[in-house]
């Protein structure tokens, strides 16, 4: 048995050291050199303080903001240390009830809106942390945001246009828009010209 036990234990220890310790530390070291911001979580800063991550969604429910997708994390939505979907099956009555409530909330916040409700705006994402909504979901909310903020609708629409992301090479990804970036751009909009805005980092004084 010594021809099995000794090599097994030794090889196991070597491989643990190599793939379990050396490998992750080496990757961390190189990643810190090449992509320090991404490796640290793509944090978004405002006034020197981290206010979120550009790849992790946040909850928005004030009518003056674009709302994110519904989140099934608990106990609060967009709880980033308890990522989860709703896991409701297609026939689960709780799913239809939840979607009905969400449609009603959207309509109550904007009774005059006659656009069809985009499906992604009333269904919970897989992670509960989806940072993005579809362009249709942004367009649906544009009139409400403009009205509550007293902005011309074209200005809000232009902001959507400048933040929208399309398919890479026409193949990869869906047309979508980052909600946190869009809302942060909205918050500084009145003081700036919409045409020069491309995220807060590039905002210029008027």
């Amino acid at each position: 048995m010594n021809t099995i036990i000794r090599p097994a234990i030794t090889l196991f220890l070597i491989m643990t050291l190599l793939t379990g310790i050396v490998y992750p530390f080496a990757v961390t070291g190189i990643a810190q050199l090449l992509f320090p911001a991404q490796a640290a979580g793509s944090l978004v800063m405002a006034g020197g303080q981290p206010v979120g991550s550009s790849v992790i969604g946040q909850s928005f429910s004030d009518p003056k903001y674009f709302w994110s997708r519904p989140s099934a994390t608990s106990p609060q939505p967009y709880n980033a240390i308890a990522s989860s979907g709703s896991n409701q099956g297609p026939l689960n009555p709780a799913l239809a009830d939840a979607i009905k409530t969400r449609v009603e909330a959207l309509k109550a916040a904007d009774p005059a809106n006659t656009l069809p409700v985009p499906v992604d705006l009333v269904t919970a994402s897989a992670s509960g942390l989806d940072p993005e909504i579809s362009i249709a979901a942004a367009n649906y909310q544009a009139a409400r945001v403009a009205r509550v903020r007293g902005l011309p609708p074209e200005e809000v629409q232009a902001l959507i246009g400048s933040h929208a992301r399309g398919r890479l090479f026409g193949l990869l990804g869906e047309p979508r828009i980052n909600v946190l970036e869009l809302n942060m751009a909205l918050d500084i909009l009145p003081a700036h010209s919409a045409a020069t805005l491309r995220g807060s980092r590039f905002a210029r004084s008027p």
């Binding site: 990757v27 709703s86 896991n87 985009p118 499906v119 897989a126």
Partner: protein, 601 residues
């Protein structure tokens, strides 16, 4: 399917297709120990490993020794994974001070990770320390994948050798597959993923102050941490407001890379590849899907190359591809169709230039329908089990596809190594059936297929349906099995069937509504995973030993060709016959009845 989805899937598979030959050839060279440059560069380090282990890499083992050594090696892994979880609070790299994991959950996770299943009853971001993730889980991501590769290579040697009593040296095979195949690819992929936004650090979790505050109902707990309930049994909650979001951190990219390349699938965080920190962009998603399929697909070429006839490898590849495509199309189509009950609520599920449409419950905006359903199909035909969308919320037929993909026995590309060796077992059964029909002694790759091979093949194939169906039957019969179900009706049965299909086939994905972190499921699924992995492995290695000992039969006019269309159809038929006959009755009780209910009302 939208034109954009069709274009995306076509380009994806073309890129994979052109990688199969070069990468398959590379793996053949590595496993045969040919002096190609990576092996020359690593020769000194590789030699040091053998020296420390006290082994001669050129000495050969018979199948019994090979099997025992492999199982002992994996058992050490299980002990380490168990121990690290049970001791993590006292060990370093635990910035969140996570407590030690419970005994039954640690057992389940230990078996889950050594068997390449990577079923997860726990939530990674709130359970596992960085050390446990790296030194326990990621190590087994490498070792279980390497174990799959070496069994496949041993079986291929069984076909390639003749009149031999040995099938290779397990220590050299494990070392080479890790050093020259898994590790370099992982480093490359991990760095590409960090570039896309996958985190890679050892910091404590990061608190941020969000733009808007959130008001929510927080369940109250007593001093022992148990939820308080009122007289009606409902949880007591209090209203809370917070503007804090805590972002999970850790060495995620390094784990993510091997999780896909090794068809492991165990996520660093609960939402797995749906989580924006594990899979932040459409490009990272593309890379992850590519990584899942690269090794299983290329091993078909490795097989053909090492067996001395690459046409044999392409025939197996063709059978796999033909099985894959229609199931994948069914999944994408069903998800794009959406849910008629949601359409009734005035919700727009039509795909357009501004929205993905379809069934978006449990899917992410950046992936939409096409890249979610494709991922689901890929992760279940291979034994990966990573998910970028929640299969539990798929439409009935969209959810049937991942379930049936697993039940085919993970032979359609399959896991790293397991896919090709399981498919070759079906090939042996296939030529046996053909031999019975034409009344000749069946042969495959110049080896006579006799009673011993057929007995072992039957054992390897039949253990999976036996444990999956028995496990499901037990779970639906007892209270602790039924209590875990999250959805009412037929879908609840599907959740249980999915859990056992996933465990028995070492896949690891789930209809995740099921609350499986209970002693019944932790122990039951642990046993199913263990049997589903090692029973076939021993049978396959026995066949490898038996084939290696046989003489090569010369090809004659009466030899059945095992690379033409006839053979491909025969192989597909064998896989479908076993898979369909065994599982269609169970599927009828779950997704099929659910589909009829959804569209019939």
């Amino acid at each position: 399917m939208t034109p954009a989805t069709i274009a995306f899937i076509t380009v994806f598979f073309l890129l994979l297709l052109v990688s199969v030959k070069p990468f398959g050839l590379y793996m053949a060279n590595v496993m045969e120990g040919r002096p190609i440059w990576p092996l020359r560069v690593g020769a000194r380090f590789e030699g040091l490993i053998y020296k420390l282990c006290g082994v001669d890499p050129t000495s050969q083992m018979g199948w019994k020794k090979y099997a025992v050594a492999l199982i002992v090696f994996n058992a050490l892994g299980a002990l380490a994974v168990y121990a690290l979880q049970r001791l993590q609070v006292w060990l370093p790299l635990n910035p969140q001070q996570f407590a030690n994991v419970s005994a039954d959950s640690s057992f389940n996770t230990a078996v889950s990770f050594i068997t390449n299943t990577n079923w997860q009853g726990y939530s990674g971001e709130s359970t596992m320390s960085y050390l446990t993730q790296m030194a326990a889980l990621a190590v087994q991501n490498f070792m279980s994948a390497a174990s799959g590769i070496v069994v496949a290579i041993a079986l291929i040697r069984g076909f390639a050798r003749h009149s031999a009593s040995t099938i290779g040296n397990v220590w050299a095979d494990l070392t080479r597959s890790t050093l020259y195949i898994l590790l370099p690819l992982s480093v490359l992929l991990a760095l590409l993923l960090v570039g896309q936004g996958v985190v890679q650090n050892f910091s404590a979790y990061q608190d941020v102050t969000t733009i808007e505050s959130v008001t929510y109902q927080n369940p109250k707990v007593d001093a022992a941490g148990n939820p308080l309930k009122d007289s009606a049994g409902n949880p007591i909650t209090e209203t809370q407001t917070t503007q804090k979001q805590t972002l999970p951190m850790g060495p995620m990219a390094s784990q993510e890379a091997i999780k896909e390349l090794g068809t492991n699938g165990g996520g660093f965080v609960n939402a797995n590849s749906a989580h924006p920190y594990e899979n932040p962009t459409a490009i990272s998603n593309f890379l992850e899907m590519f990584a899942i399929l690269l090794i299983p697909m290329s091993l078909t070429y490795t097989f053909g190359r090492m067996a001395g006839d690459t046409r044999q490898g392409w025939a197996v590849f063709a059978a796999m591809a033909i099985l894959f495509v229609p199931l994948m199309v069914l999944a994408v189509h069903s998800e794009q169709q959406g849910n008629p009950l949601i359409a009734k609520l005035g919700v727009d599920q039509t795909a357009s230039l501004t929205q993905p449409g379809g069934n978006m419950e449990g899917k992410e905006s950046r992936f939409g329908i096409g890249a979610s359903a494709l991922f689901a199909a890929i992760t279940t035909v291979t034994s990966c089990g990573a998910v970028n969308s929640m299969h539990d919320s798929f439409t009935p037929l969209g959810g049937l596809v991942p379930l049936f993909n697993m039940q085919l026995g993970e032979v359609v590309f399959g896991g790293v190594g397991t896919g090709i060796y399981s498919m070759l077992i079906f090939a042996i059964v296939g030529v046996f059936i053909a031999g019975l029909m034409i009344g000749r002694t069946p042969e495959y790759l110049g080896k006579k297929i006799e009673a011993f091979e057929i007995k072992m093949s039957s054992i390897a194939i039949l253990v999976m349906p036996f444990i999956v169906l028995t496990g499901t039957a037990v779970a639906v019969s007892i209270a602790s099995g039924k209590a875990a179900v999250a959805n009412p009706g037929a879908h609840g049965f599907s959740e249980i069937l999915y859990a056992f299909s996933s465990a028995g086939n070492n896949n690891g994905s789930a209809f995740a509504g099921i609350s499986a972190n209970t002693p019944f499921y932790n122990i039951g699924l642990g046993l199913v995973m263990w049997l589903g992995r090692y029973w076939p492995i021993v049978a396959v290695l026995a066949i490898a030993g038996s084939l290696a000992a046989k003489k090569r039969v010369p090809v004659t006019a009466g030899t059945m060709l095992t690379y033409g269309p006839t053979f491909v159809i025969l192989l597909i038929g064998t896989v479908l016959l076993v898979g369909a006959l065994t599982f269609v009755p169970a599927l009828a009780l779950g997704p099929i009845v659910e589909h009829l209910t959804l569209w019939g009302t």
